[in-house]
Every structure is written in structure tokens, then in C-alpha cells.
Symmetry: C2
Subunit: 390 residues, 2 copies
């Protein structure tokens, strides 16, 4: 059973074929696990070995190619016809003498693509330098074109069904963030808070469960709050420190992210100042969101607002978000930053991520928003304040 | 604070330089996050953007190169001198006009390696086809050599300190598997069992906490038990079905994996037959483990034993395991399978993974073992039986 009805995948494939035609491609070799799922429904933790979905330009079903033991997952989670699910023998896995892309090249040749123009995802996770080399050796007369992000740009505008699922992820993250804020207490180990957060993420709601998000809970306490991607530790939370929580709900691999900050004790003035400027900057950024505006407009509104409060932020303030697998929940297309002239369209979804990583502490505030016909809508509903536990 | 004392990293770097000298390399560009951690202690969820550790052949500290916001994580988790922690501006992240490997190429050139021989990890996760192309363009006079698995082979034999940490991971997985077996009950949703499992993995023990493992809990119930990597769902566990649980404890990113199977109701004869043959096959495989034996000997002992019971398994029965990040906990070096002539040495650690994926159901039994001076030692202590809940 795929997550969505057939017509949803048909629409996605139609858009993909249109972009392939524009790019002059006869076929697209999709190896990004999120794109494989997006186009066929395929969902399994098998992307640690080579696998691919081949989308021919001709209007016919895609092919799935993967490891033998995972073919049953393709049968269980896609609506591909049985004869479009191919697999390679286990001897290809982590072998010093064989490579799975040899097998994939053979399949492409059998499809009559040996002299065709084939797109690949050149900068996507899990498409390695050697994957391309082996593919090129196996298809010496084909033209291999880097079609990185071709599918990701389609993913950037969500369908009504996708928005519905992201709303479910939003219900999950509302629960998760409440659990997280309650768990941050002086003396509690960071790992014990992480455990409760993960439990809430996966349990979801009584109506629908959660998935393991593409990014693990980010629990940045004390010195770690000065940097966004540190791991949690066994250390207990301490009084007089910030704890930044960047969390998510994940439903059918769609994410709704949210960040909030807890201060244990009485917050110093500079923390209050950054918290208030960040909240004000978020209002300004959201105020700039509407169809037709550019990504850079949103960042500019933020930058000017916090600039008036004497603050700067050297990194982007957000990015397109949706369906994904580890290590990251972003769509890898549009960013909210200076110079990004992507035009905002209804049903794009962004994670507006305002991480202020200071010297020895930090403050984070973030939410997912959807672009509406007239402005924006926040997907989750949660107080946007500094949480203080005296 | 790195996870281990300086001398541990020094020993690892010394072994790396020796292999680099054998391969004629002037420098090694390490991009596999597990290898970056192994050589420097660097631990952060930042591997979704390009990053690298450069190991020069000259005996001098490695360099860390990553995104600006992550440099603080390098300062917090490594003992690298401050001037060996370099970073690139945020404009390089997910940019249509810049690529972080341009920056890395520039650093390598500044190090005097513009005409040197530089090793890269050609088939490792997170080193993309485009990474290599950009690197080659930026270093037109350098020789780029595929040194994939150079560090992984060193990782394959664990140090006493690593074994100690893997024993801690074993304590965690013993707790986790007990929680999991108790959670599999008729009517409970799969996601609710996954939530409790994840909570136990991260909470760890009272003495030490756990990390988020490289593979999420694998909870394969009903039809999904016929394939190893399906995701959990919202569906409740049903009577008359198998549930295969492939789980782990993770401590300081080192893994101890374990699989067990629960049958809800009265197990049919063929399930009992496969369970008993698999347990017998495991005994035979473990009996073949000793220093000097080859990986293929272990698989042969298994194959002959289950063959006498009329069973076959088309996939490998295990692999080297240790430190890693998502999407996979394997070392990607030695496999327990026919044709793998890797010689077993003391302090290698393997996941002996006996997954029997049948038509519409499955049975899994697995454990981590360490090779001792005379034979093997199982890292975790847990009953090796089919768990039946009538």
C-alpha cells in the first residue's frame, strides 16, 4: 500500500516527464530515497545500499531496482507492476569485485537506453563518486547528464494531499515540543530528555503514528547551544543555561519542524534581548511572505528588523521542507537568504529557522509555514516565547 | 571533549598514515562521518552538508573543514588545535552557483597539495559524484586516488577502549530487546512499540546514556516480516503473525545489534522448524569463529548446518560492525559470506545476522560477537529463542 492514491503518483510522474522533456532526457535515474518515495511510494530503510528508480520519458511505469531482499518492500509499498520491480543479487553488496551500478547499467542498456541521454542526481546523498564512474563505464555510448534537483523542485510545491500530511506532522510536533519543554529540568540528563522526545515523535497521536524524523532531536544545552548540530550527552541540564530544542513531527516521512528555547533560572538581559529581537524578526519575515514575493525578500525583512536591534545572523534563515529521509529534512531547493530569487508560490512550505548561535550560548525560534493565496499560514500552533523555568 | 584520550586518536592516525604511505598518498580527504569521528572525535549531525577531515602524510594534526556554524562543534568534540579548524561561509550551502568542494580544493592547494596525490573516499556515503568533479576541477594538477575503505579497514579491528564502549552498547541493547519483546502484543500499534524501543535506546542505563543508532528500530510484523527493511506502521500487531525485531544499543556512536522474533499465538510447525534450524546454524557459525579462520568459513558452517535442515539463505550472514552514523551501522569491510577470505583477528567485531525472510513471514536471530584469542565472545547476553506470546 503506497501512502497516497495512484493519481497522486501519476501527477508527480507527469510533472517529472515534462521537466525531463525540457532537459532532453530519455530517462531519469532517481537515487535520492526521498525522490524514489515521492515518485513511487517506495519506503524502506534500504538506501544504505545502491538502489534506484528509473523514470523513462515514455509514458510507462517507472522501474525499481534494488537489493534482492528489498524487492518485497517495493511490492508492499508501491503500486508498480510486479514486472517493473527488478533486483540484484546479494553478491553485489559491499563487494570488492562487483558494483551494483554495473547491474543498473545493464538494466538501462536492456531498456534500449545504451545510446540514450540519461539524467542522474549528481549531488544527492547516496549517489557516490564511484556510482557515476561505474555507470559511465557500463554505458560507454550513453550521455549522462547531471539532473540534480529535477525532482526536488517539483517537490517544492506541495499538493493538497501533502499539505494534509504535513498538518498531521504539525499535530505531532505540537505534542513533542510540549514534552520536550517539560523534560528540560535542572539535574535531568540530556539523554533522558532526548528519550522522551523520541518516544513522543514516534508515538504520534491516537489517530496516527509518527515516523523517525530525518534529523534526530537537537537538544543543545549549555556550551552546545552555541552551535546547531551537536549531539546530546549524558550531562544533566544546569541552572543558568540555555537549551535550544530543534525538533519535528514526521508523518509518512513528511516533516513539520519547530524550535524553541528554554532558560533554566533567571535569564540575563542579553538573552531576553536576543529572544525579543528574534520574535520581532520572525514577525517581520512572516509579514513578507506572500505569493510573488522572492525568498530573499523574507530574509531581508528579518535582517533589517534584527539589524535595528543591533544583531546579525551570518547564515540563511530557512529552506523548503517536506518529505525526506536522514540525514536531513530539507528539499535542498529554495533557501530564505540574500540572493535567492525563488518566487514564492501557494503550497510551498518552508522551515523559517532563526538560530542565533552566540558565544557560549544560543537562542532558537523556528516554525514551518505554508504559502497561502494571500500570505502565510503557520502549520503548527505553539507559543513563540522564551520558556523560562526559574 | 573527544570521546577517547588523545593517544587513542594518535594511534588511529599513525595506522592511517602507514596505509597512506603504502598507497603513495600525500594526503587523505576523509568525508565519511564515521571516519571523521574515528580520526578526530568530531561528532555532530552536520554531515548533511559537505565537510571533511584532511589527514596529511606528514606527522601533523589533521584539518577539519566544514560549515561555519559547525566549527564550534569541532572545537567542542575534537582536540584539534584551533588553527586546524577551518570553515566555509554559509553561501556555499545548497547553492546553485557555489560548491563547498571549491573551498576544500582551495584549502588543499594552500596546503601545497596542488600537485600532490590525494586520496578520497569514492564510494562512501555523502561523497557525491559532483563532489569529485568539483574537486578535480579545483585541483587540475593533483592526482586524485580512490582510497575508499582505507580508514574502514583500520576500524575493523577494535582497540580495547572501543571494545569497552561496545560492551556499554551491549548493556543498552539487552534492556532495549526486553522492552521490545514486552511491547509486541496483539492490538498494540507498531508505532507505539517503536516509540518505547526508541525511548529505551536513548535513555540507556543509569550509568551511561544512549545515542540515536545508525539504523532505526526495525519492527517487521505480519507481511513486513518477509523483508528486512520495511518501516513500522500504525497497524496493530495481530495474532498468528511473526514480528522480527532488529534493534541495537548505540553508545558514543558504537553499535551492538541484536535480532529476535516474537510469535503472537501458537506458532505453526514451519516457524518452529526455521527457528530451531536457525539457532542450530548460529551455534555452528559461532563454532567456526577463531583467529586465523576466514569469513567464508563462518558462513560455510552456517550453510551446511541449515542445509541439512532443508533451508537456504541467499544473502550474507553478517558483517563487521562498530562506529557509525545513519544510514547504516556496518564497517563496510568484511562480510560473512562465501568468497570473503578476510582473516579473522582478535578484536574484530561482527554482527552475525541470520534473517530468514520467507513467503509472507520471517524469522530473525542475530548477535554481535567479538573474536577472542581462542574463539568468540558474544557481546550481549540475551536468550536465543523464539519468543511466543499465546
Amino acid at each position: 500500500m503506497a501512502a497516497f492514491p495512484d493519481e497522486e503518483y501519476e501527477q508527480r510522474l507527469e510533472k517529472t516527464r515534462a521537466r525531463m522533456a525540457d532537459a532532453g532526457l530519455d530517462a531519469l535515474l532517481v537515487t535520492d530515497p526521498a525522490n524514489m518515495n515521492y515518485l513511487t511510494g517506495y519506503d524502506a530503510w534500504s538506501f544504505y545500499v545502491p538502489q534506484a528508480v528509473v523514470v523513462p520519458l515514455r509514458k510507462e511505469p517507472p522501474l525499481w531496482i534494488g537489493r534482492g531482499m528489498d524487492a518485497e518492500s517495493a511490492r508492499l509499498t508501491t503500486t508498480l507492476p510486479r514486472d517493473r520491480i527488478l533486483s540484484y543479487a546479494d553478491e553485489y553488496v559491499e563487494s570488492p569485485v562487483r558494483h551494483a551500478m554495473e547491474h543498473v547499467a545493464g538494466v538501462l542498456a536492456e531498456l534500449g537506453l545504451g545510446r540514450g541521454r540519461i539524467g542522474y542526481e549528481g549531488d544527492a546523498y547516496f549517489f557516490t563518486a564511484r556510482d557515476l564512474q561505474v555507470l559511465a563505464r557500463g554505458l560507454p555510448e550513453a550521455t549522462l547528464d547531471d539532473a540534480y534537483l529535477l525532482v526536488n523542485w517539483i517537490r517544492t510545491v506541495k499538493s493538497p494531499r501533502e499539505i494534509e500530511v504535513m498538518r498531521q506532522a504539525a499535530r505531532i510536533v505540537e505534542i513533542v515540543m510540549r514534552v520536550a519543554i517539560d523534560a528540560v529540568e535542572v539535574g535531568t540528563r540530556e539523554c533522558d530528555a532526548a528519550a522522551l522526545i523520541s518516544e513522543a515523535q514516534i508515538r504520534g497521536t491516537a489517530e496516527f503514528g509518527g515516523d523517525a524524523p530525518a534529523n534526530p532531536p537537537s537538544i543543545l544545552s549549555g556550551d552546545n547551544a552555541a552551535t546547531p548540530h551537536a549531539a546530546w550527552s549524558d550531562r544533566p541540564f544546569r541552572a543558568g543555561t540555555a537549551t535550544c530544542l530543534e525538533l519535528s513531527g514526521c508523518r509518512l516521512r513528511y516533516h513539520c519542524a519547530m524550535s524553541r528555547t528554554v532558560w533554566l533560572g533567571r535569564p540575563p538581559d542579553d538573552v531576553l534581548r536576543v529572544a525579543s529581537a528574534t520574535a520581532e524578526g520572525m514577525e517581520a519575515a512572516l509579514g513578507a511572505v506572500k505569493p510573488g514575493a522572492l525568498c530573499q525578500d523574507v530574509e531581508l525583512a528579518w535582517r533589517e528588523t534584527i539589524g535595528r536591534r543591533g544583531l546579525t545572523k551570518p547564515s540563511r534563515v530557512g529552506y523548503s521542507i517536506g518529505i525526506n529521509y536522514p540525514p536531513n529534512w530539507a528539499d535542498h531547493t529554495a533557501s530564505l537568504r540574500g540572493g535567492d530569487r525563488t518566487v514564492l508560490e501557494p503550497n510551498m512550505t518552508f522551515h523559517l529557522m532563526l538560530g542565533m548561535w552566540m558565544e557560549g550560548w544560543g537562542f532558537e525560534l523556528s516554525d514551518n509555514f505554508r504559502i497561502t493565496e494571500t500570505g502565510h499560514e503557520l502549520l503548527a500552533d505553539f507559543p513563540r516565547q522564551l520558556f523560562v523555568r526559574e
